[in-house]
């Protein structure tokens, strides 16, 4: 997993609530057996017509937002299927942060395991961010993981965001859970000796 420390980037606004993982990456694109290449089909049915042409009214096809690495989305982002391919597709398409006012549980975990930061803010802050981007599509936000702050141009105060301290360390250092779990081998083996509920 790549390290994540700070990011300064423009935003791609997607003011839709309950964006499910079937929208992020439709099931018919899940036939690959590797992790790479899902970005091309990110939001495929919103992004392309049936014959594969870009839909001009979808935000990912809007020239003003090209190259931006922060996705700003309505609440309950990533609900539905457990497919980690959704996080891979966002990452593969260049996103490193998704900001929303809350995330579905499985998506949040998958994003963190992919090196994609799910940054949760209040409904009010989210609304304010949509307004900032609406007024200036090039507005660049600054995300600092160490200090857990989001700096917004024109705002007097920085926004603090919460993140589990262990997950924060993982992201900053590019570690994942496997190394940690493997290191627990002795405790796991001892635990297995006393599993009395398996008959």
């Amino acid at each position: 997993m790549e390290k994540f420390q700070t990011l300064r980037s423009g935003v791609v606004p997607l003011p839709i609530e309950n964006v499910d993982t079937d929208q992020i990456i439709p099931a018919r694109f899940l036939k690959a057996t590797t992790r790479e290449g899902f970005g091309a089909n990110l939001f495929a049915d919103w992004r392309y017509t049936a014959d594969g042409q870009p839909k001009p009214d979808f935000v990912l096809n809007d020239a003003r937002y090209q190259g931006h690495k922060i996705l700003l989305a309505g609440k309950n982002f990533g609900c539905g299927s457990s497919r980690e391919h959704a996080a891979w597709a966002l990452y593969d398409a260049g996103f490193r942060v998704v900001i929303s006012s809350y995330f579905a549980d499985i998506f949040r975990g998958n994003a963190l395991n992919t090196g994609l930061l799910p940054l949760q803010v209040s409904d009010e802050v989210l609304q304010g961010l949509f307004e900032v981007v609406d007024q200036d599509p090039q507005a660049a936000l600054m995300v600092d993981l160490q200090t857990q702050t989001l700096t917004v141009p024109g705002w007097a105060e920085v926004i603090h965001f919460e993140l589990d301290p262990y997950k924060k360390e993982c992201l900053i250092n590019g570690y994942d859970d496997i190394d940690f779990l493997i290191s627990q081998e002795a405790a796991i083996t001892a635990f297995e000796q006393q599993r009395s509920w398996v008959f």
Partner: protein, 464 residues
Amino acid sequence: MAKTLFDKIWDAHVVREVAGGLTVFYIDRHLIHEVTSPQAFDELTARGLTLRRTEQIVATADHNVPTRHQDQPIQDPLSRSQVDKLTENCAKFGVELYGLGHQYQGIVHVIGPELGITQPGLTMVCGDSHTSTHGAFGTIAFGIGTSQVTQVMASQCLLLDKPKRMRITLDGDLRPGVTAKDLILYVISQLGTGGATGYFVEYAGSAIRGLSMEGRMTVCNMSIEMGARGGLIAPDATTFEYVKGRRFAPQGENWDRAVAYWQTLYSDEDAVFDAELQFDASAIQPMITYGTNPGMGIPLSASIPVLNGGSEATSFDKSLRYMGFQPGESLLGKEINYVFIGSCTNSRIEDLRTVAAYVRGKQKAAHVEAIIVPGSKQVEQQAIAEGLDKVLAEAGFELREPGCSACLAMNDDKIPAGAYCVSTSNRNFEGRQGPGARTLLASPLVAAITAVEGRLVDITQYLN
């Protein structure tokens, strides 16, 4: 100290707590399938790791398999390669595989219970969000991502924060025509698609106790559709009766020991939940969804709500535009083109029996295409043994071979753009059943009646 059912099972599976409030959590059973496992096997190999407890993993091919001609090679090269990859990985790592053609093959959440792999008090995971189905047995079962699939393969554990506990109590006698599917569609319509995010839900009350195991599975299956990490129901005599004698169920003396333990799995009387909700089950009516998330459900005979502004307005309008519906309109009389009966929510033998009992001696409407996809080889064989295949065929339904099928349309079973499908599956997301497809979620009974009438009707007028 008084404990909830969830806490009893959770606490028994804590290997250790680590700094920051996370838990090293032990997983008893791991189910895998072709779509979310290949990258996990590759990751394992790339790190020089292997499976820690091969015997605690069971594999099947379900998401991406055709539902016709399963005895022949898969036509679509990508699907074939994914299924072949599962076969190769299972052979290489020594995992028990119930692949295409195997007598136990089927949807992963159908075969776990029917083989007795799913038992009370266990922890189970699968790279699929509907793993919550197994909670019907008093099991902590939940869906995980592929990175977590790798973690369980390597360590038999996950690093988790403990979810909050919610209890949803449904008391009262069900009205005629109201089924487990209607109960859960109703609950989700009340909580919304994210209303239980962060919670593990226990379902309780007389209406839940009165359900068969298959009905309980339908309820727990859709827990994820309101954002819950999982759902579970305290095991009881109905549970034990279902598990007894199954292929991997405890036998002999072990059975008695198992039941003695399972009988301790309930929420203590004074256990405290982080949230408690109560609903009158006797007021619930046959349900249908009208929008593009499972929280957008109404009684079949009610009208689509009218929303007055708010942050949800944009998404609501987008959803109704996609569905071709208007706020405030009734769905009764809407012509339906497709009926899909299947998925891990409703593809078990009781579902097939419900459909067959209604359509016996009737004919589906001429303009409706009705497909019925059994949840497993065993369900299919049972349906044939009971003669349901003939009843369904005579009514114009097409009985397919087992798989996830048009629930997520990874295979060729797709609903065409713009067409309306009454589906017994679990998700009505945009494009879920094929690009542009319009899904209305309902019970198998509603689906059967819709297929015959060719349009949405107030089913209470049509009950046998």
